[in-house]
């Protein structure tokens, strides 16, 4: 159920948060008993869950590295979650100091935590907003204040689209974001897929996430490819995330175990 706009959310740590479950998969301790219980249930259903999170995080790292090398200096990370290790601004600034990053998340605890981590950083801000409202994100004064939309921006929609239902029209959301971007901007997407998985496993995973505020919407490679409408896919296209520009060929072995498909698109023109 969607919270009405005027009602502030309640902070209930008895309810698992997808951001803190993700932190747990990554080995972090920014989580509570309810998060760990849900994450453990997920691991019981899909033993690769921690691997998935790591592989996805590594994909994000390589993608940001690629983008900075491509000259991008502005990042809009939507669904940024709990900032643990390897945040976008840290990775980007290793190559391109002064890169500006906007983190967006709907989870108030994740946002509060990010604010604390980023306190004093003039080149990054945190905005509490929902990917379902791209127009609000784009119009947010903090976003407008930090990012110059006339210059290329990399929009990162990493490990978050599987929390957006088809009813919320993800293609339209991405289209709205795309329409606000300058040529040379990029879109990075990764999301859980059920390609090659059995039905039972998928059902089990969906049951776990139904305990959170964010049920899972698993999608196919074709659906994910369609989300890049208007963008030119960068090589190697939409692939299992370990296969996306691996540092060593052996890192891409057994790539389908990562469950996540991902890709990077470039806005031409």
């Amino acid at each position: 159920m969607q919270r009405p706009d005027w009602a502030p959310e309640t902070i209930d740590i008895e309810r698992p948060s997808v951001a803190r479950m993700y932190d747990y998969y990554l080995g972090g301790s920014h989580n509570f008993a309810a998060d760990r219980a849900a994450a453990q249930a997920m691991v019981a259903a899909v033993p690769e869950a921690p691997l998935m999170a790591q592989a996805n995080r590594a994909f994000l790292r390589r993608a940001v590295q690629f983008l900075t090398e491509a000259g991008v200096r502005q990042f809009l990370d939507i669904g940024s979650g709990i900032p643990t290790v390897g945040n976008v601004h840290e990775i980007a600034r290793r190559t391109a100091p002064g890169s500006r990053v906007v983190y967006v998340d709907v989870d108030p605890v994740a946002v509060a935590h990010s604010r604390e981590i980023l306190a004093g950083d003039d080149h990054s801000v945190v905005v509490q907003e929902d990917l379902r409202h791209p127009e609000r994100i784009l119009a947010h004064p903090d976003v407008r204040g930090l990012l110059d939309l006339d210059e290329p921006v990399a929009v990162l929609v990493v490990a978050v689209l599987h929390f957006i239902s088809d009813d919320d029209r993800p293609a339209e959301i991405l289209g709205n974001l795309r329409d606000a971007l300058a040529p040379g901007s990029h879109l990075v997407i990764s999301q859980a897929s059920d390609e090659g998985r059995d039905v039972e496993e998928r059902g089990e995973a969906q049951r776990v996430y139904r305990r959170t505020d964010n049920p899972l919407w698993i999608r196919s490679r074709a659906e994910l490819t369609a989300f890049f409408d208007g963008f030119e896919l960068v090589e190697p296209g939409v692939v299992w995330v370990p296969q996306w520009r691996p540092e060593a060929p052996e890192n891409a072995e057994d790539a389908e175990r990562a469950v996540f498909l991902g890709g990077v698109g470039r806005l031409g023109g």
């Binding site: 080995g27 301790s29 920014h30 509570f32 390897g86 605890v109 540092e247």
Partner: protein, 586 residues
Amino acid sequence: MAESAALRSPSRPGTFARAWAKAVGGTSFLPLTHAQLEALLQRLADQLAAALLAEPFDLRPGHRVGAELVANHIASAEGLGRTVEVVQLRLLRDLGLVGDDVEDRMARLLAAVATGYARALRDRTLDEQESIRRAVMMARTQAERALRESEARFRRQATHDSLTELPNRALFTERLTDALNEPGRGAQRIGLCFVDLDRFKVVNDSLGHQVGDRLLITVADRLRRALDGHLVARLGGDEFVILVERTGGTDDVVAVAEAALAAVREPALVDGHELVVTASIGIAERQVAGTTPSDLMRAADSTLHWAKAAGGARWEIFDAERNRRELARYALSAAIPPALERGEFYLDYQPLTSLRDGSLLGVEALVRWRHPELGVLRPGSFIGLAEETGLIVPLGGWVLAEACREAEGWSARGGRTPFVSVNLAVRQVHRPGLVQEVHGLLERTGLPPDRLQLEITESTMMSTTEEPVRALRGLADLGVRIAIDDFGTGYSNLAYLRDLPVTELKVAGEFVAGLRAPAADPGSRTDERILASLVSLAHALGLTVTAEGVETAGQAERLRAIGCDAGQGWHFGRPAPADRILERVG
């Protein structure tokens, strides 16, 4: 020596560091590239090698390496296990380290690494737990603040007018109720000013609602500033209200009303238009004890309408007696339609007597209301009300029909059958279809048209429309007599007398009253001359003249001497039922 090479860092990742990197890679997420990881582990391997050979043997580098692994996010249980395994199995061999007690040192150094690692991991875990809990607290604080703000916003929206930011009716009523109910305040006095802009609709209609809205904002600001200390609220539209607490009497509220009028009166520049508006104010002021918010609001509101009715740009103070009268009048007017249905009205007739031979020429129909509670009411107490409310149309219609119906049944005993004279109100004459109505009545009742006289007042003719003139011509064409009632008190326009099919003038009683005084009295003589002129004028135009209000034989005699044709008044007979009048002449 290998060890000395190892100490000369940085060095390229050797076999051992590569094997170590392979072992820990994948045990947790690392924000490093593989090359960065190998470089890191090479550095740590060098430190371990140096520690194994150092004199004296020191465990602290082992602790440091363990801590550094965690700091670099090689921070999982598996990461430690694989590190112990790979160091134990390969470090000495890969680096070619030898020594007497090197095995022994290795065991102790590995223990130090594990200890340093576990300590660092524990600290990190505790730090992260603390940090996420802090984030929860911050998020909660934020959420509570947002809730308070949204509640405050919601409360403000519910209690304030969004256009002017003034308190709205709900908040005003709440405050007024509090002021009236506060214990110990019964003996105090309290006042309200109901403020309404005069002709505000004209601004809206001619300059648009945006200008109107901006004008309201300006007025609201001025009222707020001018009446600092008093609660000013907007009730809606262009209506404002001011609460004046702890008054010492009406003067205090009048002062507030004067200030409000002055504040509104100042010209306002809105969108390049200099607008001058005025306001009307209704004041109600009384003791707190015994009043209620709705009483007080109603009183101020009624009073506002008095100020409006008096022309605006003024204040009026509530007057209980006037209010009572108005309420009674309202109740009476509301009772007219059901009274018509129940047949509570009836007619009396007053004779119109020939001054020449004393014969009965006609009778004037006068309506009476047999009110179930108030007794018999004369027209003076309800006709004005019926005219204001428009109820005169059905009431007048009933009178006309009833008079025709009764008159048809009268028969002449020895002389001419008297005509019946019926008053027509302005509204009746202005209504289309009057001629048809009269025509229909005459047909239905069989009353000859020349036995019906319709009395209209001069003001009926003071109209810019053609309707009344057409109606009178139509009525005259039917053969109905037409009299001008109360002649001499209005404009006494002679032009229409020439052009209209009028048959008779009824001269107002005021002139006749003058004839009661002795003939030598100068005022009396003046009235007599006016009357004489009127009579000769009327006769010149071919009209007959009836004098109203004839009370004495003296008056009657003087009127007859002037040449006046007929008289009406107590001297000739008071209003009474038709049969009694007819009996008397018969």
